[in-house]
C-alpha cells in the first residue's frame, strides 16, 4: 500500500467514528434488536481500526448490521448468524477470537502464566521463609546498642 493510500485510509478511519447504529436500521422487535446489538459488538468493522460494527459508521459496517438483522429476522440463532458472516468475511471479523487450533494458546496464555508465576512466587516465599535470619555484623551490633541506649 502506498503511503498516500495509507494516509487516506488512516484519515478516514480516524475521522469516521461519528455515527454508528442509525434509527432506520433498528428492528421493531426489541428482543431481536437487543440480540443484534449484542452480536454486533463482537463483530469487527473490516475497514476500521479495531472498531466493532456497532460503533462504526463506515458504510461496510452498516451493510453488515443490516445483513445481521436480516438473518435474525429470518430465524437464525445467534451462532448461526455469526457463522454465516464468518463464512463470508473470514475469522478476521470476530473481535473475540474463536477457541480453536492455535488460538487455544492465546486463551490459555493468561491462566498458564498465572499458574507459573504463582508457583514461582510460592517457591520464592518458601525459600525466604527457610532462610535463617541474617546475623548483625559487629559494627551493626554496636550501632544497634548505641541506638537502643539513646
Amino acid at each position: 500500500m502506498s503511503t498516500l493510500k495509507m494516509m487516506v485510509v488512516l484519515l478516514v478511519v480516524l475521522a469516521t467514528p461519528v455515527w454508528a447504529v442509525l434509527p432506520d436500521e433498528m428492528l421493531s422487535n426489541p428482543v431481536l434488536e437487543a440480540r443484534a446489538r449484542d452480536i454486533s459488538q463482537g463483530l469487527r468493522c473490516l475497514v476500521c481500526r479495531n472498531e466493532s460494527i456497532d460503533d462504526s459508521e463506515a458504510g461496510l459496517a452498516r451493510d453488515l448490521r443490516l445483513l445481521l438483522r436480516e438473518r435474525l429476522v429470518d430465524g437464525d440463532s445467534d451462532a448461526q448468524a455469526v457463522a454465516f458472516i464468518v463464512q463470508r468475511y473470514g475469522e478476521y471479523v470476530l473481535l473475540k477470537p474463536s477457541m480453536n487450533g492455535i488460538n487455544l494458546l492465546l486463551w490459555a496464555s493468561g491462566p498458564i502464566m498465572f499458574i507459573l508465576a504463582l508457583s514461582g512466587g510460592i517457591v520464592f516465599i518458601r525459600r525466604r521463609k527457610n532462610t535463617p535470619e541474617p546475623e548483625l555484623n559487629p559494627v551493626e551490633q554496636a550501632r544497634l546498642t548505641e541506638i537502643l541506649s539513646e
Partner: protein
C-alpha cells in the same frame, strides 16, 4: 534560520550524548573522578541543547513556517494558536523530539539533584541514560529529521486531523511521554545497579521517586486519553483495547508492580533482582509503546514496508536495549542477594501476589495485542483480538487483585496472623457484601456485574479507610491521641490510602457505566421529546431544533436540547456535528452535562429523509467517578512523592558516621 539553529543544536546534543555515554562509564570503571564528574555538565548541556532544538520547532509551528516539510504536512494557517503549537508533537518527528527532550530533562534533574548518590553509581546512571538518548538522537537525525526543508514551500499547510484539534489530545501525549520517559530513569538505575553489582535499601529509595513520578504522569496521560475518547468519539466509549491504548497500559501495569516491589526492597531488602527485572520490563514496554505504535507494525504488518529504514532502526534499538539489559540481568542478577526473611503470610507475600497478578495481567494484554501479528506471520491466520477477548481474559486478574488488596495492605511485615489482621476488616467485608446484595435485589435481572463491581469498590474504599483507622488506633485510644497519630503518619501512608481508594472508585465507575447505562437512538423532529431512565430520577429530553453555525475553521450543525427532570429544566445541551473544510472531514461534538450521579450525553447526527435528525442519547451513571478515581490514584502518587524520606538526603546520616552501607559489591 531558527530551524537550522534547532537542527544544529540537535546534532550538538547528539555529540554531547555520545561523550556522556562513554566517558563517565569508563571513569566509573577505572575510578577516575574527573571522568565521572563530566556527566553532570554534559547532562545539563544535553538538556539545554535539546530544549533549544524543540523550541525552534515550536517556533516554526507557531509562525506557520511551511518551508519545513513537517510543518507543511501537519499544520495550517487557519488553526488557532494553541493547536498550532500542539501540532508540534502531534506527529511522528515532533513527538520523538519531545520524547528525547523529556529524557534529557530527567537526566539533567538526576545530575543536579543526585548530589548524594555514590559517585560511581551516579556516573553509570547518567551514562546509561545518555545511551538511551544517543539511540533517540540517531533515530531522529538519520530517519525522522523534523527540520527538513522543502525546496518549494507550499502556500498553506495540509492541516491537521480535526479530531486532533482538541484540548484533551493536545495534553495527552506530553503526559504519556513524561510517564514513559520517567521509567527510563528507573531503567538506568537498574542497569547501573547491575553493572555495580549492588542493590540496597538506599538504591530503592533513589529509584522510587522516579518510578512514582513516571507512574503518576502515565496515570494522568492514560486518563486524558480515555476522557478524550469519551467525549470526542461520539458514543461515550472510554476504553477500546486498541493496540495504541494497550501500548500505554502495559507499561502502566508493570510500573504499578514495580512501585510495589520497590517498597519491599526499600523496607525489607528482599525481591531485589525481581525489582530490577521489573524496572527493565517497564521501560521496555515504554519503548515498545513509543516505537511500535509509531511504526504501526501492530496495526498492520505491512506498515513496516512503508519506511523500512525506520523499521529496521526501531528493531535495532529495541533489540539492543531490551536484549542487552536482559543479558546483563541474566549475567549479574544472581549477585544480588536478598536479605529479608518473611513467612507465607506477610505484607511481603501480599506484595508478591500483587506483582504476580499485575505482571500476568500485563502479559495477557501483551499476548492479546501481538497475537494477530503472530497468528498471521507464523500460522497464516488473519484474525482479530478485540475488546471481548480482553474483557474476558484480563478482568479476572484485576478482580483478584481487588479482592486481596485490602488484606495485603493491612498485613504486617515479616509474619502475620490472618485472624488478627482480619479483625478490623470483617466489618468492612460484611458491609461490602451487604451492599452488593442490596444492588442485586434492587436491580432488574440477575447480571452479576454491578453487584460484584460495587462489592469490590466498597471493599477497596472502606478497606483503605479502615487500614488508616487501624494505624491511628481509632476508637482504641482517645480521639485526640488518634488525631495526633494521624498527623505523625508518613505522607506515603496517605498516598497509599488515596491511591487505593482511587482504584476502588475506578472499579465503581466502570461497573456502573457498564451495567446501568441507558441508550436511546431515534429520529427526532423539532419539538419531539422522549424519556430516559437515570440512576435516581428519569429525564425528559426535548429536541428544540437545529441551526447552522460557523466556527474559526469549521462549519457545524448545532442542535438544541432541553433536559427536564420532575418537570424542571435540568440543563440545555448543544451538541454539534462539525465539518472541517481543510481536511474535508466531519466530527461530532457530543454535549455532556456531568455531575457525580450521572452524565447526560447527547449526540446529533445527519438530517433524515423524512425530516428530523438522527439523535443518540445516553444517561451514563456515575461516570465522573471513573476520572475521579484516576485522579485520586495520581494524587496518591503525588502525596507519596512528598514523603519526608525522599526530601531528607538519603544515606546522608549514615555517611556522617563514617560507615559503609552493608551491601557487598559483586566484584
Amino acid at each position: 534560520m531558527t530551524a537550522e539553529l534547532g537542527h544544529f543544536s540537535l546534532i550538538l546534543a547528539f555529540m554531547v550524548a555520545i561523550a556522556q555515554m562513554i566517558i563517565p562509564m569508563v571513569g566509573a570503571h577505572k575510578g577516575w573522578h574527573s571522568w565521572m564528574e563530566m556527566a553532570v555538565p554534559a547532562a545539563v548541556a544535553q538538556f539545554l541543547l535539546t530544549t533549544l532544538s524543540f523550541g525552534a520547532l515550536i517556533y516554526a509551528f507557531a509562525t506557520s513556517d511551511f518551508s519545513l516539510e513537517l510543518v507543511a504536512n501537519n499544520s495550517h494557517s487557519a488553526k488557532v494558536m494553541l493547536y498550532k503549537i500542539a501540532a508540534t508533537w502531534g506527529n511522528h518527528e515532533g513527538s520523538l523530539l519531545m520524547w528525547v527532550m523529556i529524557l534529557t530533562l530527567f537526566g539533567a534533574i538526576a545530575a543536579i539533584w543526585g548530589r548524594n548518590l555514590p559517585p560511581s553509581l551516579k556516573a553509570r546512571v547518567l551514562s546509561v541514560q545518555s545511551a538511551i538518548a544517543v539511540a533517540f538522537f540517531a533515530f531522529l537525525l538519520f530517519t525522522s529529521n523534523p527540520f527538513l526543508r522543502l525546496v518549494v514551500p507550499p502556500f498553506d499547510g495540509q492541516g491537521l486531523n480535526p479530531l486532533l484539534q482538541d484540548m484533551g489530545l493536545a495534553l495527552h501525549p506530553p503526559f504519556l511521554y513524561l510517564g514513559y520517559v520517567g521509567l527510563s530513569m528507573s531503567f538506568s538505575f537498574a542497569v547501573a545497579a547491575l553493572i555495580e553489582g549492588r542493590v540496597d535499601a538506599a538504591w530503592a529509595r533513589w529509584v522510587r521517586p522516579w518510578t512514582l513520578t513516571a507512574w503518576m504522569f502515565l496515570t494522568i496521560g492514560i486518563g486524558f486519553g480515555s476522557w478524550w475518547a469519551y467525549y470526542e468519539l461520539g458514543w461515550g466509549g472510554w476504553w477500546f483495547w486498541d493496540p495504541v491504548e494497550n501500548a500505554s497500559f502495559m507499561p502502566w501495569l508493570v510500573a504499578t508492580a514495580l512501585l510495589h516491589s520497590a517498597i519491599v526492597v526499600e523496607k525489607r531488602e528482599s525481591l531485589k533482582s525481581w525489582t530490577i527485572l521489573l524496572a527493565i520490563l517497564a521501560f521496555s514496554f515504554s519503548l515498545i509503546g513509543t516505537f511500535i505504535v509509531r511504526s504501526g507494525v501492530i496495526t498492520s504488518v505491512h506498515a513496516f514496508a512503508n519506511d523500512p529504514r525506520r523499521g529496521v532502526f526501531i528493531l535495532i534499538i529495541l533489540a539492543v536495549t531490551i536484549g542487552g539489559s536482559l543479558t546483563l540481568y541474566a549475567a549479574r542478577s544472581s549477585s544480588l542477594s536478598s536479605k529479608g526473611v518473611f513467612s507465607m503470610l506477610s505484607r511481603e507475600s501480599g506484595l508478591v501476589l500483587n506483582n504476580v497478578l499485575l505482571v500476568v495481567a500485563a502479559f495477557v494484554v501483551f499476548v492479546g495485542t501481538v497475537w494477530p501479528l503472530v497468528a498471521e506471520v507464523l500460522f497464516g491466520r488473519k484474525l482479530s483480538v478485540g475488546a471481548p477477548f480482553f474483557n474476558t481474559a484480563f478482568t479476572p486478574f484485576m478482580l483478584a487483585l481487588a479482592v486481596i488488596l485490602p488484606i495485603g495492605a493491612i498485613l504486617p511485615w515479616k509474619r502475620a496472623q490472618l485472624r488478627k489482621s482480619m479483625r478490623s476488616l470483617w466489618g468492612v467485608f460484611a458491609l461490602s457484601i451487604a451492599l452488593g446484595a442490596l444492588v442485586l435485589m434492587l436491580q432488574t435481572g440477575t447480571r452479576m456485574l454491578a453487584p460484584i463491581g460495587l462489592t469490590l469498590a466498597a471493599w477497596l474504599v472502606l478497606g483503605a479507610l479502615m487500614d488508616m483507622a487501624a494505624r491511628v488506633r481509632m476508637g482504641k485510644v482517645p480521639i485526640l491521641d488518634s488525631l495526633r497519630r494521624l498527623r505523625n503518619l508518613p505522607r506515603a501512608d496517605f498516598g497509599k490510602m488515596v491511591a487505593h481508594i482511587g482504584f476502588g472508585l475506578v472499579i465503581f465507575g466502570i461497573s456502573a457505566i457498564t451495567a446501568w447505562q441507558a441508550e436511546d437512538i431515534r429520529v427526532a423532529k423539532k419539538g419531539d421529546s422522549f424519556v430516559m431512565e437515570g440512576p435516581i430520577s428519569s429525564y425528559k429530553i426535548r429536541f428544540d431544533g437545529a441551526r447552522s453555525i460557523t466556527g474559526p475553521n469549521y462549519t457545524a450543525t448545532q442542535g438544541k436540547f432541553t433536559v427536564f427532570s420532575n418537570g424542571r429544566v435540568v440543563t440545555t445541551l448543544y451538541p454539534e456535528k462539525r465539518f472541517y473544510p481543510v481536511s474535508g472531514t466531519p466530527t461530532t461534538e457530543a454535549a455532556i452535562q456531568s455531575n457525580l450521579v450521572r452524565d447526560i450525553y447527547v449526540v446529533i447526527g445527519d438530517p433524515q429523509d423524512g425530516g428530523g435528525f438522527a439523535i443518540r442519547s445516553y444517561i451514563k451513571p456515575f461516570t465522573a467517578w471513573l476520572w475521579l478515581g484516576g485522579l485520586a490514584m495520581a494524587f496518591g502518587a503525588l502525596l507519596s512523592l512528598t514523603d519526608r524520606r525522599y526530601r531528607v538526603a538519603a544515606g546522608a546520616r549514615k555517611k556522617k558516621r563514617g560507615q559503609k552501607t552493608q551491601a557487598v559489591p559483586a566484584e
